[in-house]
Structure formats: structure tokens, C-alpha cells
């Protein structure tokens, strides 16, 4: 009986990690997309100005918040690999935000190359994290064209009213 109880308790620990980490993974994915968009706009020649300061600040703040919560997670051994990729993604994306913060024109080609490499590393780590454990998705498809034919969406009941 104790052995079964111990097994249940052990099995619950990764599950608790997944439940706690899922929203952080989703937020990290969103920040990666945002930093990607800002990087793309910074890389492209353009005639008019695009004020990226506020979104960049928001992305950097979001990263800091996610990092604090990720570092605060209890990480059971089966989740260690996932957690390492989360931490690595955070570090890479923080580097992107820092480089973008210097201004798109500063630093020349070396900085542009580093932005691109760090962004690729960050998004690769997010994908590796999603592959490391069940329960994490690389792409949020719930609001894409695909959602229109998702069985879960088609059969969804109205949400409980909570005003």
C-alpha cells in the first residue's frame, strides 16, 4: 500500500510541474513571437519609423516575470530536461531583448547576426522544451484557421458565467 502511495506521489510531481509550467511556456512562446516581430522590423529597411520602444519594454518586463516564476518552480527529476530548455530559452531571449534595446542601427552586422542567432536559439529551446514533456505546444493553434475544424472547439460548451 505504501509503495503504491509512494508511486502516486512520485507520479504527481511531474504532473504538478506540467500544470504550473504550462502557462509560463505559453507566455514564453508569446514573448518569443513578439521579440521575433520586433527583430524582423528592426532588420528590414523602411522609410517610416516604427516605435518599438513600448513593445520591447513590455517584452523585456514579461521575460523578467517569466524568469522569476520559472526559477521558482519545483523541478522533479523527470522535468529537469524540460526546465533546462526553458531556462536556456529565457537566457537567449533576454539577449535578444538587450540587443534590440541598443537600437536597431547600433552595432552593425555583428549585432544583427547575434540577434538572429539568439532568437533562433531561443525558439529552438522552446520547441525542444515542448518535445521534452507532454502537455506543451510549440504553436497555439486554438485561434488559428485550424481551430475552425478542431473537434474540441466544435463541441465546446458555453463557458460558465463568472462576472
Amino acid at each position: 500500500m505504501n509503495a503504491i502511495s509512494d508511486m502516486n506521489r512520485l507520479a504527481a510531481r511531474p504532473l504538478a510541474y506540467v500544470v504550473a509550467c504550462q502557462p509560463l511556456h505559453g507566455r514564453l512562446r508569446d514573448v518569443a513571437i513578439q521579440l521575433g516581430g520586433l527583430s524582423l522590423i528592426a532588420m528590414l529597411p523602411r522609410r517610416d519609423g516604427f516605435d518599438g520602444e513600448a513593445p520591447l519594454r513590455a517584452a523585456a518586463d514579461a521575460l523578467a516575470g517569466i524568469r522569476a516564476e520559472v526559477l521558482d518552480l519545483a523541478v522533479p527529476p523527470p522535468a529537469a530536461h524540460h526546465h533546462r530548455h526553458m531556462a536556456a530559452a529565457l537566457a537567449a531571449l533576454a539577449r535578444v531583448a538587450a540587443l534590440l534595446g541598443r537600437g536597431p542601427g547600433s552595432g552593425g552586422e555583428d549585432v544583427r547576426r547575434e540577434i538572429s542567432a539568439a532568437l533562433r536559439a531561443g525558439t529552438d529551446h522552446i520547441r525542444h522544451a515542448a518535445n521534452a514533456m507532454p502537455g506543451f505546444e510549440t504553436v497555439d493553434l486554438r485561434h488559428s484557421c485550424c481551430a475552425a475544424h478542431a473537434a474540441a472547439v466544435l463541441s465546446a460548451e458555453p463557458a460558465e458565467l463568472r462576472f
Binding site: S39, I115, T138, C146
Partner: protein
């Protein structure tokens, strides 16, 4: 004789797609097949794609399991049906930034990519609005954006600001703002090269899913019925459809919806061994048919 050979190639499909999304309005009308496809043009020394398909490795299983996307085949395999290799591709027009249209950016090592500036700007803006607004940015793969950034760094990603004629000989692009997406683009091919062409084709991206969007369902009373998915508006979709029809003298079959399962009935076509349609819209001089 045509300047460009043109094919539409299916690379995956959703067997049961709600009609109510293909045509805004009529609810509870069942489902239709929705192929995923891209367009290949070959001629004038260029090999051109309109959209790229996507990279199945990242989330293919999720697509298959949760969203019913089936029969996926890699662009390399699909392009081979018309004798094209990914490294042959010189230009890609990205009609909009959804994963199934720009999810394979890094498969074409020698291509230059064109997308609307507005598609990028408004999309980044919408990302700043917060999680309550995530409907506006759904379906984006962060890995795709990283690939686009690297292309931009290399000078291979070109952002176009609005309409532009002769991006390549006889090929124009047009902005359809605030429609399916913020900066959707459609591509016009004047296949005789003439400014006032009698051989114009339009590639509509996701501004329409089916010819029925251009004709309605009642032959006695034709009307434009927009698709059901828009971050912009159905009004804008209707007016964009009208503009596309005007550009081809209201000849409906010349406005090509890549998601239309009946293209194979309108143009010469064949099915591959995987059951995917290869549709031949035009053949340039000296080009052998790929469907005969």
C-alpha cells in the same frame, strides 16, 4: 503563349472543414474538404512560389491529432511532381503570415521572399495588446519568425508597402488591408506580359477559400460571400473579392483559391500516388505538361 507555367499543388488537407467557415453565414450546413496548397510559377528564368506550406516536424502531430490535418507531404516531395527542387526557387510571395502559408521559409535556400509591411507592423502591434487579444495572433510559430529574421538579416526578406506592379515581369502584388489578416496580399500574373492583359490570373491567398465565395450558392442570384475568418472585416473581404474579379473581367475561374477542392475539375489535373491534386493552370512555351 504564356510567359509562365502555373501549377497549384496540394500538400495536405482537412477532410472535414465547416462550410460555415468557408462561407460566412450559412450555419449547420456540414463540412467540405479543404486542401492546403501552394502555387508554382515557372518562366522568364524564374521559379516562383506563392506561399510555402509549413514544416511538419514541429507540430505536425498536434495538427493531425487535434485539428484533423491529414496527408501532409514535404515541399520537396510535392514540388517534385512538377520537376522543381527547393533550391530552384528564386522568389516566394507570402500572401499572409499564417503558419500554413509561411511555415517553410528555410526550405528554399536561394529564394527572395516578399511580404506586406502592414502584415508585419500590425501583427507586432497586436502582440502588444495582451493575452485577452490573442485571437488576433493565433497560429503563429515562433520558429517561423526566427527564420524570417534570419532571411531579413541576409537581405532576402522584402517588405512591400501596398500595391506594386512588375515585382517580377508581368507579376503585380496588391494589399488587401484588414481582411483575413491585417496585411493580406494577392498576386496578379499577367501571363502575356501586357499591361492590359487578356490572360490575367489572380492568386488570392486566403481572401477566398472557394469559388463559392465569389459566386454565392444561388446561380440565379450571384453574390460575393466572404470567408468566415477575418481579423479585419467581412466588408473588406467582399470589396477585395470585387477588386480581384474586376481585374480578370469578372471571369471567376481566373481568381484562384488554393483551398478549393474543385480546382481539379476546372483545370487539367491529376492525382499523385498520395491522392493529392496537381492542377495545371497554364503552360509556358517549351514546358511539358505535368498532368498529361
Amino acid at each position: 503563349m504564356a510567359d509562365y507555367s502555373i501549377w497549384v499543388l496540394e500538400y495536405a488537407a482537412v477532410e472535414q472543414f465547416p462550410r460555415s467557415v468557408m462561407l460566412y453565414g450559412p450555419m449547420h450546413q456540414g463540412t467540405r474538404k479543404l486542401p492546403y496548397g501552394f502555387v508554382v510559377l515557372k518562366g522568364k528564368g524564374e521559379t516562383i512560389l506563392i506561399d510555402t506550406g509549413y514544416d511538419h516536424t514541429g507540430f505536425g502531430k498536434a495538427l493531425a491529432d487535434s485539428y484533423g490535418v491529414s496527408n501532409f507531404h514535404h515541399p520537396t516531395e510535392v514540388l517534385a511532381e512538377v520537376g522543381v527542387r527547393p533550391e530552384d526557387v528564386t522568389t516566394v510571395f507570402v500572401t499572409h503570415a499564417h503558419f500554413d502559408h509561411m511555415g517553410a521559409l528555410d526550405f528554399f535556400p536561394n529564394a527572395r521572399f516578399y511580404i506586406q509591411q502592414r502584415e508585419l507592423d500590425k501583427w507586432v502591434w497586436s502582440l502588444t495588446l495582451g493575452p485577452e487579444f490573442r485571437f488576433l495572433v493565433g497560429g503563429t510559430d515562433p520558429g517561423d519568425i526566427a527564420k524570417a529574421v534570419e532571411l531579413a538579416r541576409q537581405g532576402r526578406m522584402v517588405a512591400i508597402d501596398g500595391d506594386r506592379e512588375d515585382v517580377l515581369p508581368g507579376i503585380d502584388v496588391h494589399l488587401a488591408a484588414d481582411t483575413h489578416t491585417y496585411g493580406s496580399m494577392y498576386v496578379t500574373v499577367r501571363n502575356d506580359g501586357a499591361r492590359d492583359s487578356a490572360d490575367t490570373w489572380i492568386f488570392a491567398g486566403d481572401l477566398i477559400y472557394t469559388y463559392d465565395n465569389l459566386t454565392g450558392l444561388d446561380p440565379e442570384a450571384p453574390q460575393i460571400i466572404p470567408i468566415g475568418l477575418a481579423v479585419g472585416s467581412q466588408s473588406n473581404l467582399i470589396f477585395a473579392s470585387d477588386a480581384m474579379l474586376n481585374a480578370v473581367g469578372r471571369e471567376v475561374r481566373r481568381v484562384i483559391p488554393v483551398h478549393e477542392d474543385r480546382l481539379k475539375e476546372v483545370f487539367p489535373s491529376r492525382l499523385t500516388v498520395h491522392g493529392q491534386q496537381v492542377v495545371e493552370i497554364a503552360l509556358a512555351e517549351g514546358e511539358a505538361s505535368r498532368v498529361a
